[in-house]
Subunit: 363 residues, 4 copies
């Protein structure tokens, strides 16, 4: 078991980049939930490679077919299976790679694990393409959450070290929608312009850049999550590291908290509209693994795309000797902007799972 997560809401992803199809089984969705397929498609489209110079030239339509679980536009209690056909693969681009593991890719570790039997064409099951079915699951979760007053949104917090403005203390559904509607998901357009320049500069250098995605959830009740190993942070981190290229996850101030003093990092409590609120949100909405009722805030670090056009040193697995590799084919000079909806999707799926489980602190 590996490509699945969740307890009540169980999400199982399948497929290889250049196989016949990719897809997802979502088990545990409540019944009678209407799924707005147009809204879902708009969400999926945010992840798709664009037509501009920032992305791969691969054509993906990514229209899910629903084999089960969805009848007359509503969930029916049975596991939902959605399939996306693969098309437009150019596997010949990857021929040489079967023998020469690409630095920074899972080629070598897949070989070590599966003894050369893995289908690694286009990255195989490790490909970013697998995030499309993840977004089907997350897009559905987002709709169910929104119906219950919980809104999940994200922006590109940084590319190549160039920062966007952070979320305000109380991000809203409207702000999330606004960002989602943008072709490049940043709060600060000027920062976005600099990020795009950095991506293009890397592309021109046959190189790539990484970025950071900041995701927030507004509307969560306090008291969600369990102590120690089943807290909100534990469960979100476990799932978020499932997104290809994510190498770090932090909540609230995260690593910056390690540089602050307690008096700076502690969030004073104060009454607001009859409820206990924090005046600041350095904790990112979580204390002791349990939600405070303040917005949940997390960040995920996305490494630079390992596929770059420059010649790189690697080995030949058949000859067990050093060699060089130049990767041809189409590659994103940056995947961080495309990963923004993916981080939202995974976050939404985990939060819906936790809400379905309920707060059984008192029964």
């Amino acid at each position: 078991m590996s490509s699945d997560f969740g307890r009540i809401l169980h999400i199982s992803v399948f497929g290889q980049s250049h196989g016949r199809a990719i897809g997802v089984v979502i088990d545990g969705l409540p019944a009678g939930e209407e799924i707005d397929l147009e809204e879902l498609q708009r969400f999926l489209d945010r992840r798709r490679p664009g037509t501009g110079p920032l992305s791969t030239a691969r054509k993906e339509t990514d229209i899910p077919e629903f084999l089960s679980g969805l009848e007359d536009g509503k969930t029916c209690g049975a596991p939902l299976c959605a399939v996306i056909q693969n098309a437009g693969q150019r596997s010949k681009d990857y021929g040489e790679l079967a023998d020469k593991p690409r630095p920074g890719h899972a080629d070598f570790t897949a070989w070590a694990k599966w003894g050369g039997h893995a289908d690694m064409r286009g990255g195989g099951h490790f490909s970013g393409r697998l995030t499309a079915p993840l977004c089907v699951a997350g897009g559905i979760a987002k709709q169910l959450l929104a119906r219950r007053g919980v809104f999940v949104g994200a922006h590109l917090a940084a590319v190549a070290g160039i920062p966007d403005r952070p979320f305000p203390l109380y991000p809203t559904a409207e702000l999330f929608s606004e960002i989602a509607a943008k072709p490049f998901p940043v709060l600060d357009e000027e920062a976005g312009e600099r990020m795009r320049s950095a991506i293009l500069a890397a592309k021109n250098d046959l190189d790539s850049v990484g970025g950071v995605i900041e995701c927030a959830a507004a509307g969560l009740p306090p008291g969600l999550g369990d102590p120690m190993f089943e807290g909100v942070e534990n469960r979100l981190a476990a799932a978020l590291f499932g997104i290809p290229a994510v190498k770090g996850v932090e909540f609230g101030e995260g690593f910056r908290a390690a540089e602050l003093r307690g008096s700076e990092n502690n969030d004073p409590f104060a009454m607001k509209d009859g409820e206990v609120r924090a005046e600041t949100n350095h904790a990112g909405g979580i204390l002791g693994g349990i939600t405070t009722g303040m917005p949940l805030v997390l960040r995920a670090a996305v490494k630079p795309t390992p596929s770059i056009g420059r010649a790189q040193r690697t080995v030949s697995l058949s000859c067990m000797e050093n060699t060089d590799l130049t990767i041809h084919g189409r590659h994103d000079p940056c995947v961080a902007h495309r990963a923004v909806p993916v981080v939202e999707a995974v976050t939404a799926a985990v939060l819906l799972d936790m809400l379905l489980e309920g707060n059984h602190g008192t029964f």
Copy 2:
């Protein structure tokens, strides 16, 4: 279920800071393994508050009693239960806190979850004290791993923004032992001196500081871990966020990878002593969630101790009105240095669990 983790090796932690005892059940240990109790005690002692000015004045002896699973010094296949009696609590120090949630602590979220029924004296089940039984489990795991050539060690990578030197490309068991023997677990003594000064300065200001712990594992085979949601990163992160005060987890370059270019972050492969190795280790020993055979490297961010001596703004839960709180009693101005063996413990436990599960990539 919340205070447990693991699949084959299942670790379940119990106790409250000021309850009768704390402890751990470790289910799934292989049988016939000799446990060196003196070595275990030395490991536990690294976590204990010292006698110096850097730590709380609370006296903890932390000697585990083994109720089951260990006969004649060897594991016997049955679940191992170790109990540590609590002593030296001064619960009266915490009386006021039942009504006034401490900023940065789980007091408020426990109240939201358990409706005031939680035993939060001394932090209750959320206390850093619960890391003592975690260290029992992890200390045992470390012994079993070492017997199989896998060594886990950690150092204090930073305190209050003051960095230690990072681990070398190939950290060794000897280096880990050397750090473990130090009263303050850093590689660079001069950096350690500056860190200690920063802790004392915070203490003098009735304040606290945080830090970063860097942990490595040497000797792991390549091919360990499963793709997507059961990778090494997912499982380690899920467990590491169970350590109180951890707010961020990253692997290899982690968040810094987001600022690098692909050509800088990719690790070229090269033959070395007949095996495929990477020339650098920006990936921290993991690609696609699966081990490369290079050292595993991770970092965990520990926030500044939320208990500080300064007056803080909070609310009265009984009156639902704003109030002030001054925390008395004994508190660590920094817990990051004490958390170093805890990060080792959790890392070792997860890695042993994965090794016990085996690499079933090919059967």
Copy 3:
């Protein structure tokens, strides 16, 4: 999460009887395993309704399409997804049933759970049709097990109280093949004849009958399984009750053991060919939840098909009043004989999962 099971080998079933397709995701298969699709199809055909009078007239071809995980006839490490298109549904037969729950079916409990949103056409997700994808998973598991010397087979131990001969002390792969090749899977042809007569008699009475399936696994090593709640019995029972209509599961003598004396039920140990063997196998190959190395023997009780042609008393859920119901459409007067390969499939899947996990008793 509900329609999935397994730890290393994770099997997730989806689909509704009259939906677009049914299928299965199998995550965790070792890579490089050749799957003999013809052998698999022969296995699936054993479950299909026949053309004779014993079965439903519904036409099912049940040919799985592989969307992922299988490349060039071999597993590739990625999750395998197999889909079977639905066809030949006659949903109009089931119109009345949406309001009138059929006695003995899940109609009422699905309504209670999902508030009328369930797609219960043809039994929906509860239909015996869902055992087809289970058989895809189990058929693949059987091939992998056979390759490692573990053989799983089953026969119809009883129909309507008419017993078949039990398995011999050491059932063989050859015996399993022999039964599998029969149109009616019994050891004793004469008993089979009487069973078929009982089924036809029930059919003529617009009624149905149940049966018992006995399944064995030969070639398991001793020492497999864990004590208490992760024993072979626990894991097999948990999965076997997932087969529709199963109402009882027993191992070895099972319920009959409760009528025996210890001196009759204990299996004496004796050396045989240099190995410890039991002289009898009342334990069904399991002691303390762990395999003895003797054949694993279990039985599953299948209740009589609840869909019968006779008028039955039920209620109208819309009017909340008593009413009558006469079920039209095509139904099996007995499903026990078709469930024989399904019990094999589930048993094989669980056993392969346990073998993949390995015996980590000593590491």
Copy 4:
């Protein structure tokens, strides 16, 4: 992981029969629940060996000490750990057994699994003694269930083939209390008398007998449980097979259903007091794995105690040759009557776990 079960309510059992202590960790109990320790002790006493001739002469007091999770008589949200000290072991009785596996016991399989490192004195971790901590967990679960109108009770349905009267269609809390108060838990005193005679006759013959326990739960809502592999039957069976000596589990008519016709086994629905009820309960309160709202009824088969006074054939593991074994020491000629509260305990624990999880069929 093996000696634990449950999803929200997680129960982890530890200890060996002749080790220092046995115990249980119960994680996930709702907070603020008062535990009546006297009532709990009365429940535990039902499991203890009596002073009469039907039971072992071993003295067990079985008074649990609570190390955590219970403060001022109430649960506090933290995991509850209860420990029962071992006393009165006479390990010298078991010396010979280390080499000669007792037929019908786990001695051989433990040896096969743990290579001779298992502590099998008195049955070690496989001993019926481990059901004492299970009863602590189950006794607490019973109190929480009763507070919510769900009552669990059991009786000895058969010993040595001698049947008790079955539960009535609607068993009540009063009936359960009545049985629980009896020294021998049967509905029909005359049947009980015959059972006791059968036990004594076996004892006189240096032999043992088995039995069947029937357990019911009244007051469950309809709609609890999930389809296929997470149904009420699956989860109960998985846990019930964790009770030593259980070799079969069935629900409602169970194996007898296989001998009935559909018209006999189907339960007609009818309105009763404004609610949908079944007129009969052959289904044992479960259809499709989901509760109907009728009483849950299950039976567990307990094999005859494998420890008997007669000489038995076995092998010497050190010499790998055939030998004889005569077991001395104290043994129950029957454990079925003592297992009655254990079946209640496990059933209650699983049901509470499912209720805590909630029915998320519609959200």
